[in-house]
Amino acid sequence: MQTKDINENIAWAKINEDVLRSMENPRMGYWVALACCIAMISVAVVAEIYQYQVGMGPSNLNWPHMWDLYIATFVFWIGMSHSGTLLSAILHIIQADWRKPIYRFAEAMTTFSLMTAGLFPIIHLGRVWNMYWVLPYVSDRGIWPNFRSPLVWDAFAITTYLTSSALFLFIGMIPDLAICRDNARGWRQKLYTVLSMGWQGDDRQWRHFRKIYLLMACFLIPLAVSVHSIVSADFAMSIMPGWHVTTFPPYFVAGALYSGCAAIITLFILLRYFFRFDEYMTIPIMEKTCKLTFAIAMVWTYLNIIEFAATWYGHDMVAKELLINKFIGPHAPFFWAMLFLGSVLPFTLAFEKLRRHLPTMFVVSLFLNLGMWLERWMIVTPTLSYSYQPFAWDVMWPSMVQWSIVFGSFGWFGMLFLIFVKVFPSVSMYEVKEMVFHRRHYHSDEVANKLHRRASDDQSGAEPTREGA
């Protein structure tokens, strides 16, 4: 029974070994997974090519449903990206050191889900080949993007966020890349030599490193918040009932952190299982993540209630009508599913027994994410189905083209992530060392006992030595 966030006595050499091992000789399962992802992608590519050739028609989009799954999934992936920032930046600033073993893959998740999200606005364009018109490139025709449009805000925000989080991921990885460099052979060595940028761990480098890490953390937190509130502006800035909602920015951010954390739990369990990271991704850390998720889930629930209540309380007849339609209309099954998965299911996280039981958590986290995806769909579509002009009311279900592209996006994310875990250390070695080091120096056994030990535990915690390793 794991009781400590991490075992202070773990040998540093072992940390290196374990992590580096995880990066080598992929097993059969890995290749299978990769193959699946690529298969999903290729299906999506076929669908996209078809759509490109014929037009948006086959996707079942229609008047008035000009948007549907593409945008919903776009919002979903953007949301997914926020967890990484949460763990790496926020927890870094409040110095919650239990983040150290697990923030690396969360950070990677951020970058990759952004790379996935970025595809959707492009895919959903009627004339993809002109997508670059959204950027303010120098044009002799003197035409510019319309800076009033939330879509342009998206373009700016996502570029900024992608750049920053990618840099953040990379900077944070440099010392580890140095480790890889020192242990790798062949092409990997060349690669890491370049990437580690001559890191040699002298005090100067560490000093500046600490600064930049802090500074970037400070940047990323407001950035993450701004990004998702801008995404929410796509809807909140419109005048459509059910979109024009004041609580959307916080609602979206909460939802984002929520789905992000759920995704972290999923990947946490997968990595722990496949890479035998039991030593680092420990149950207590898992528990902490779960608690965090639960808290956010409650925030999300609260914001939901607020939205409903406000709509109900207000005099906007049309918005009220739409709300009722969500409750009992054709979308009701999905709507209620979303509420159940998003607000009821998370209560499983409140029970220690369940929290510590990984298979349960795995399933739960998947369902939480499904709920979050439904949330996005239920935001986008019902408003289009029932808005101001009753004559334009309609109900539309997405076609296989849309579905396959949506599924493909999961394949794409999976592929990126799978490649990542084999090329880069998915656990931050140097930071685990720091964690161990500091714990060893600042946590006496008494404290440790107070903190972690329970009556049930065996008392055979070896006396921590003062030796390095």
Binding site: V54, G55, M56, G57, N60, L61, N62, W63, P64, H65, M66, W67, P121, H124, L125, G126, R127, N130, M131, W133, V134, I143, W144, P145, N146, R148, S149, P150, L151, V152, A155, D234, M237, S238, I239, M240, L384, S387, Y388, Q389, P390, F391, A392, D394, M396
Partner: protein, 281 residues
């Protein structure tokens, strides 16, 4: 130098619609539609198909909601008023509402377009630049009237088999897939009318320019004209109905007048005024 430009004209560039916007309008094309006269015969819609190269998309796509009816004749049945008993028959007939782009002055579709493909012309028209459109379809989502239609396919490929294509109006383009489009108040006719006037160096007179729908309407329920021209028939009608631009709620001296603008409470400031349907009882 642009910086200088900004500093000098700052206040000018900060003017919103309430302050009259940043340029003087040459015209403000508008309509007045009398639902007392409109019989819902749908001639306007077909005339629009004929004038504006609208494709016929066929049964399935039409049913899917992928049709291109710029001007749609909406028909509503009376609903039993609150508490009122269900009548056995629609004793008062139907309510017809011809809906074409309302050419809003505070158009909700404009600010959301990422590439500025839809904007306001000095004619007070809400123009859609097909060549600039990248098909994000945000404008249609943000149009409370749902009056923007999207080319979900390359309709022209099937819509005009030889020799039907010879009927196409060369004054405007045939749209390709991936482009948003909508009623333009027959901008090609406006253009021709203005050119003609300028050739005869005179100003455009009321009646020089008439849209296809207004022209074909057997009951002359649709009146088109320039709202800035004080002598134009449409202006007279707006005045008579005490309906003014730039208001979210018309404060009328005579509250019994029929004039109103659809959903004007949303402050879209549409340029199309409707006049209520009339029934004996």
């Amino acid at each position: 130098m642009s910086l200088k430009n900004i500093l000098e004209n700052w206040s000018h560039y900060r003017q919103t619609i309430e302050d009259g916007g940043h340029y003087e309008y040459e015209h403000m094309w508008g309509m007045a539609i009398d639902l007392n006269k409109c019989t819902g015969c749908n001639a306007c819609s077909v005339a629009c198909y004929a004038e504006n190269n609208l494709p016929t998309v066929g049964k399935d796509r039409m049913r899917k909601g992928q049709g291109m009816h710029w001007l749609r004749m909406e028909r509503y049945w009376d609903e039993p008023e609150m508490g009122g008993e269900e009548k056995e028959y629609q004793e008062r007939g139907g309510s017809f509402l011809p809906m074409m782009c309302q050419q809003c002055n505070a158009a909700t579709c404009e600010p959301v377009c990422p590439v500025a493909a839809t904007y306001h012309t000095p004619d007070g028209l809400n123009a859609q630049v097909y060549n600039r459109c990248i098909g994000s379809r945000y404008c249609s989502n943000n149009c409370p009237y749902r009056l923007r239609y999207f080319n979900f396919y390359s309709y022209y490929e099937e819509s005009w088999p030889e020799p039907l294509n010879m009927q196409l109006n060369p004054d405007l383009s045939v749209r390709d897939k991936g482009v948003m489009e909508k009623c333009t108040f027959c901008i090609q006719r406006i253009r021709t009318g203005k050119d003609k006037a300028s050739r005869e160096d005179r100003t455009v007179q009321d009646g020089d320019i008439v849209t296809a729908c207004a022209q074909t309407c057997p009951t002359e329920a649709i009146v088109f004209g320039d709202l800035l021209d004080q002598k134009s028939q449409v202006t007279k009608l707006w005045k008579a109905q005490q309906v003014e631009l730039g208001k979210t709620k018309q404060d009328k001296a005579n509250t019994e007048l029929r004039g109103y603008r659809v959903l004007e409470g949303l402050n879209t400031d549409p340029c199309v005024m409707y006049m209520d349907r009339v029934r004996e009882a």
